[in-house]
């Protein structure tokens, strides 16, 4: 009897769990798709600051980029005078905008700026607003020679306050080397935090890293997704790498895979001998046709 009770109990438990799971699934399926709007500020070294809008659709528990979503961007206030522009998200659900010159006065007016993104209502989603507050800041990258030839990078984070700048402590900074497709940390740590003087110190530990023909590397520092400063980066070219031979693959020596001017001599001699021989014969035969023609013109009809 006891066993039967246990069995019934287990069955009832299983049934209850199935019902709960089914209900949860049905609830998830029943939920309408949601729009997730993200706004990011980028201030990369030597380039114009820009805004990035990312639109993502959440449906059936999956996140998919939302393309062709129109979004209005404003600076400080969502009035026409402060309109940065209208952007439309691409295949990856992203759209980009730089600040127009007409907003230069508004940009210069304050150290803290509000960026506003308002998505245009569509048949699937209503209008959505996203606001980020950014404090103007900059990164300063410097180098210092240490003992025993050690090379050190000093990265200082500064907040801009009017015409002056104040060093900021406890900001996480990534310091690395800009490679073709990645940002390679210069040491064992991927990121560093500024100290009480607003400076992060990192030792360069990648001595044999291939650089350009002169051994130059592009080193950089980044603040990523910071609540106050957004995304800031700075780059500096330094001769800390290994000089890389431009002819790494032997393109500059005579080979089958080299450029046309560097074809193997043997191949050139054989190919051009054959070409000249055959075309010499063709030219000779054309000359013979002219001889036949000349003979025909002088021969009595």
């Amino acid at each position: 009897m006891k066993k039967i009770c246990i069995l019934y109990g287990r069955l009832a438990g299983g049934l209850l769990l199935s019902l709960l799971a089914g209900a949860a699934q049905a609830q998830a399926q029943a939920q309408p798709p949601a729009l997730l709007l993200k706004l990011d500020y980028f201030n990369n070294a030597n380039s114009v600051p820009y805004l990035q809008v990312t639109a993502t659709e959440k449906a059936d528990g999956k996140l998919e980029p939302l393309k062709a979503l129109p979004v209005q961007l404003y600076l400080n206030d969502s009035v026409p005078a402060n309109r940065i522009g209208r952007v439309v998200t691409n295949e990856a659900g992203k759209a980009f905008a730089t600040l127009p010159p007409s907003l230069q006065a508004a940009w210069n007016a304050g150290d803290k700026l509000n960026f506003i993104a308002i998505s245009t209502p569509t048949h699937s989603f209503g209008a959505q607003t996203k606001i980020i507050e950014i404090t103007k800041a900059r990164l300063i990258l410097d180098t210092v020679a240490g003992q025993d030839g050690a090379r050190t990078l000093l990265v200082t984070v500064q907040e801009l306050q009017g015409d002056s700048a104040v060093n900021v402590k406890d900001v996480e900074v990534k310091i690395g080397v800009q490679r073709q497709a990645s940002f390679l940390p210069i040491g064992d740590d991927a990121s560093y935090t500024t100290d009480s003087t607003g400076t992060a110190t990192a030792t360069f530990a990648r001595d044999s890293l291939p650089g350009d023909a002169k051994g130059n590397l592009v080193l950089g520092a980044r603040i990523e997704d910071n609540d106050s400063y957004g995304n800031i980066s700075v780059l500096k070219t330094l001769p800390w790498g290994r000089a890389k031979s431009l002819d790494h693959f032997g393109f500059n020596t005579r080979s089958l895979w080299a450029v046309s001017a560097k074809a193997p001599l043997a191949l050139l001699i054989i190919a051009f001998t054959m070409i000249l021989a055959v075309w010499g014969i063709i030219i000779y035969l054309v000359f013979q046709i002219f001889r036949i023609k000349k003979l025909g013109e002088t021969a009595p009809s």
């Binding site: 070409i275 055959v278 014969i281 063709i282 046709i289 001889r291 036949i292 023609k293 003979l295 013109e297």
Partner: protein, 435 residues
């Protein structure tokens, strides 16, 4: 030809002068022109919308066009076989076939070059091939050798034509009257003097000797376009000989078809005789055997070893999706014609014509089978490859362009037959006198 030997010269001239197209001829030309126009329209679409209108994708980037190119190159070899090799071997019976062979060679090589330009996504960049071409690349070797072969074939058509042009000028008929100006430009200077004949004969002999290595070169280099590429089915040291033997067979098949059509259309039974068919039949059997030998060598050895990289490709051909096409092609292009032509009754004109059609059609499909299945099985397959890359069936634009090029080739041959004597008149008369 035996009967022709008994025919007076005047009759030979009257028989062999170009003739106007009849109703069938006009219909034939009209049909070919329609197909060509459709091809031109399809090419316009390709230029307008890019190579995206084709079914070619990252896997099969050499599709119908390159198969067609290899087919044209193969057909063009016939000029060197019939004209050069048989002439140098002092084979007299081939005289009536030399011009047909040369016309086919000229038309084929023209369209081989054209189809390569069509295959280029940006044809306006063709000049870059010459300006920035690398001598290390087999593609440049192919460009050089195709151009050279075209000029040699042209000279080999033109020089033996000079005595016939004199006849065309001296015996104007209603059919040749529209072309008298062309004949004058081409050969009014030919007087048939001893000195002219001596130079001409010497030049033809030099051409015959020169065209053989160049013809071998064009087929070897075309085969190397494949063999120098890392692909299953192409990674072979045998490819040059394999392609040359296939080209000889395809070209001979084309000549047999042309012989039958010309004989039928122009009632040339006295000049292109059953004996010619019989002898060509024997040559075709020999060539089919040689090509079959190379096919066995080409497929049996890799199949015996069944290397991992080749396995998928070979299994697809032998027992997979391509099996029906593969075995049918082998059967139709080699085995059936060979069996048919082994018997004397099979070497009569009509069976020969059927065998010729089988050989030419089979040769076209053979090139398709050489090109496409290999492209579908790269040594380094891509990850997450789109479905459209995994199979290939040409789009209607590709079919229209390919058919347009084939029709164009036949149109060139048809027009050459309309303008010039298809059987050399002068040589026929000389041989009659010599006998």
């Amino acid at each position: 030809m035996e009967k022709a030997l008994k025919i007076p010269d005047e009759q030979i001239i009257a028989d062999l002068l170009p003739r106007k197209f009849g109703k069938t001829g006009q219909l034939w030309v009209g049909l070919l022109m329609c197909i060509c126009l459709l091809g031109v329209y399809a090419y316009y679409r390709q230029l307008r919308y890019g190579l995206g209108v084709t079914a070619m994708r990252d896997y099969v980037s050499w599709g119908l066009y390159i198969s067609n190119f290899v087919f044209f190159v193969a057909i063009s070899l016939v000029g060197s076989l019939i004209t050069a090799i048989l002439r140098l071997a002092n084979v007299k019976w081939s005289t009536p076939l030399t011009r047909i062979a040369e016309m086919i060679a000229i038309a084929a090589i023209m369209f081989a070059a054209l189809i390569i330009i069509i295959d280029m996504g940006r044809p306006e960049r063709l000049l870059n091939v010459f300006v920035h071409g690398r001598i290390q690349s087999p593609i440049i070797w192919d460009v050089v050798v195709i151009t050279t072969y075209f000029f040699i074939s042209f000279l080999l058509l033109y020089l033996p034509l000079l005595p016939d042009i004199k006849i065309l000028l001296s015996s104007p008929s209603a059919a040749t009257r529209p072309f008298q100006k062309l004949y004058r430009v081409m050969g009014s200077f030919w007087k048939g003097t001893y000195a002219q004949t001596l130079i001409s004969d010497k030049a033809i002999n030099i051409l015959c000797i020169t065209i053989i290595p160049v013809a071998f070169g064009i087929h070897t280099v075309t085969s190397w376009l494949f063999a120098t590429t890392f692909r299953p089915g192409w990674d072979s040291t045998n490819f040059g000989a394999y392609f040359i033997s296939g080209a000889f067979l395809a070209g001979s098949g084309a000549v047999v078809v042309a012989m039958f059509v010309v004989r039928k259309a122009y009632q040339m039974d006295d000049y292109i005789t059953d004996d010619h068919f019989d002898k060509m039949g024997k040559i075709v059997v020999l060539l089919a055997l040689v090509y079959l030998y190379f096919n066995i060598s080409e497929y049996l050895l890799p199949a015996f070893k069944m290397k991992e990289d080749e396995e998928a490709h070979l299994k697809e051909l032998f027992v997979g999706d391509w099996a029906v096409k593969f075995w049918t092609t082998i059967l139709v292009s080699m085995i059936l014609p060979m069996l048919l032509l082994l018997f004397k009754s099979g070497r009569k004109p009509l069976p020969m014509f059927i065998a010729g059609i089988m050989i030419v059609t089979g040769a076209w499909f053979k090139r398709y089978i050489i090109v496409v299945p290999s492209m579908l099985h790269p040594f380094l397959p891509m990850h997450d490859v789109p479905l459209s890359y995994k199979s290939y069936f040409p789009s209607w634009e590709e079919w229209a362009i390919a058919c347009g090029s084939l029709a164009g080739g036949m149109l060139v041959i048809t027009l050459l037959v309309r303008i010039f004597p298809i059987v050399p008149i002068h040589e026929t008369m000389v041989e009659k006198k010599a006998n």
